[in-house]
Amino acid sequence: MSKLMLTGVGIILIFMIIAILAPLISPHPPNRVNLTARLMNPTSAYPLGTDHLGRCILSRTLHGTRYTLGLAFIVLVIILIISTVIGCISGYYGGLTDETMMRVVDIFLAFPAIILAIAIVGLLGPGLINLLVAMSFVWWAGPSRLIRGLVLTVKEREFVAAVRALGARDSRIIFRHIFPNILPPIIVLLSLEMGSIILSISGLSFIGLGARPPTPEWGAMLSEGYLYMETSPHLMIFPGMAITLSVLGFNLLGEGIRDFLDPKGKYAAGLSKF
């Protein structure tokens, strides 16, 4: 493992520990309103200061790890499931099924994802569930095409033909023989998307289409904080740094994986949707 990758793994591990221990290491409850201590600069009681409702920014940022990273992880799992199913069916059966599915994929790729995501959450109303729906809705297409490609290559391998000759059913071939072979690259490739997913989630929350108050989601904290930008910049600086750091962690990891798989660096670093 390279130094970069180790740093990445280190950052991710720290964030995971923070997510688990958030309630223990936070100096205050994240949602406790204290109107007598509004918009305070960092002090010993509030190491990162307080927001417009006198809530501790450190505690909220620490708790935010759970929401932002947790959400990104759930989105990742959903995308994984959807795109695997579609990619497998499309790649395995080929023909008209494949053609139709790839046309639909084209349509989804033919569109700036963020606009579609904004449209969906904007129309369905903000909230974590709708955010998940929108993110999955706009994100499945790319990975599906990728997985389809993987299935196509595995399908040509001899053992598949052998199993088929033995008379195994299609579903069995897909799930018992093809799927295990493509799973490792899928996981690696999708984990490269993690950074972009975090950025998209916080971006949607930032324009008011994500987490509901008082959820201490980082993007939502930023959108509350930017009204006070000039007087109290610390409201937006710390959640923003948390987002950057966590995305950096995943990008470092991805960069490391990429170096390993593809030393010449042919693939782009996580093409951000924002």
Binding site: F111, A119, L222
Partner: protein, 312 residues
């Protein structure tokens, strides 16, 4: 070549049709009454009679499928309907905002090239040296920064504290700099890595080595031979990232109050201006597809060895 282009154009139609159908479907399940939204813009609560009259005026009292057919029929003739909010033609609304978005995207592209070319070329030449490592870390940071946050930080530092750049809206070049940097930073990071990779590959080719051997000065080798090779993946990337640029413009326009298409669509979504949402969706899809087509064509033009692979 011509028949290829023609075929690509024809294949646009079903894509755009489905795109509009998806958008329309989304609009149908949307809560909120566009007629009421249009009327309450002035801040008063309209009466039920007013809302009903507005619905009739906008044709919202008809069955949904009829509404769609009606809209689609007109769209085929290039008429995207009129905005619920302002009562003005949607095409006019979009065309009015388009220059602003184009200006911003263009500025971002210029920024990307100013940053990415030197960074990419230098880090390829000085591979694994300080320049390379520094640019690598900068690139990683660049893709990790949330665009909206970077925008806010730039506003805070350069507009509010140092008062170098104006804070609002569109105007001269100085209005353009901060939004362009915000929009371009992530992409510049990616491009610089791509250029580096392309350069490295080119530099390792035999003919480059041969050129060196012939005694051609190294910067000439780099500019004349290596860069051309590095350019090829950039064009593909450009096609891929144009959509991202348009998408990114939505957030940047919101942060900087930039009166472009992105801001138009966000405002329209919040105010349930269905015809404008439909129009922008179609329009952006069209631009995106056309850009990709253009990229494919340029690709074959620069490097005739490449067959039109995308033509399945």
């Amino acid at each position: 070549m011509r028949s290829y282009i023609l075929r690509r154009f024809i294949s646009l139609v079903p894509v755009l049709f489905l795109l509009s159908l998806i958008t329309f479907g989304l609009l149908c399940i949307t809560p909120g009454d566009p007629a009421e939204m249009a009327l309450s813009r002035s801040g008063v609560n309209p009466t039920r009679e007013a809302v009903e009259a507005m619905k009739t005026e906008l044709g919202l009292d008809k069955p949904l499928c009829l509404q769609y057919i009606h809209w689609f029929g007109k769209a085929l003739h290039g008429n995207l309907g009129t905005s619920y909010r302002t009562g003005e033609p949607v095409t006019q609304e979009i065309l009015y905002r388009l220059p602003a978005t184009m200006e911003l995207s263009l500025a971002a592209i210029i920024f990307i090239f100013i940053v990415a070319f030197p960074a990419g070329v230098l880090s390829a030449i000085y591979r694994d040296r300080l320049v390379d490592n520094a640019s690598r870390i900068a690139a990683l940071l660049g893709v990790s920064l949330p665009g909206f946050w970077l925008g806010l930080i730039l506003i805070y530092l350069f507009s509010m504290k140092m008062e170098i750049f104006p804070v609002i809206g569109r105007g001269g070049l100085n209005h353009l700099i901060l939004p362009a940097i915000t929009l371009g930073s992530g992409m510049a990071a990616i491009y610089s890595r791509f250029i580096r990779a392309g350069m490295l590959e080119a530099l390792s080719q035999d003919y480059i080595q041969a050129a060196y051997a012939r005694g051609i000065r190294s910067w000439r080798v780099i500019t004349r031979h290596a860069l051309k090779n590095a350019l090829l993946p950039i064009i593909t990337l450009f096609g891929m990232s144009f959509g991202n640029l348009l998408g990114g413009a939505v957030i940047v326009e919101t942060v900087f109050a930039w009166p472009g298409v992105g801001k138009l669509v966000v405002d329209s979504i919040f105010e349930r201006d269905f015809p404008v949402i439909q129009g922008v969706v179609l329009f952006m899809g069209l631009i995106y597809i056309l850009t990709n087509l253009l990229v494919d064509i340029t690709y074959t033009w620069i490097d005739p060895r490449v067959r039109l692979k995308r033509d399945r």
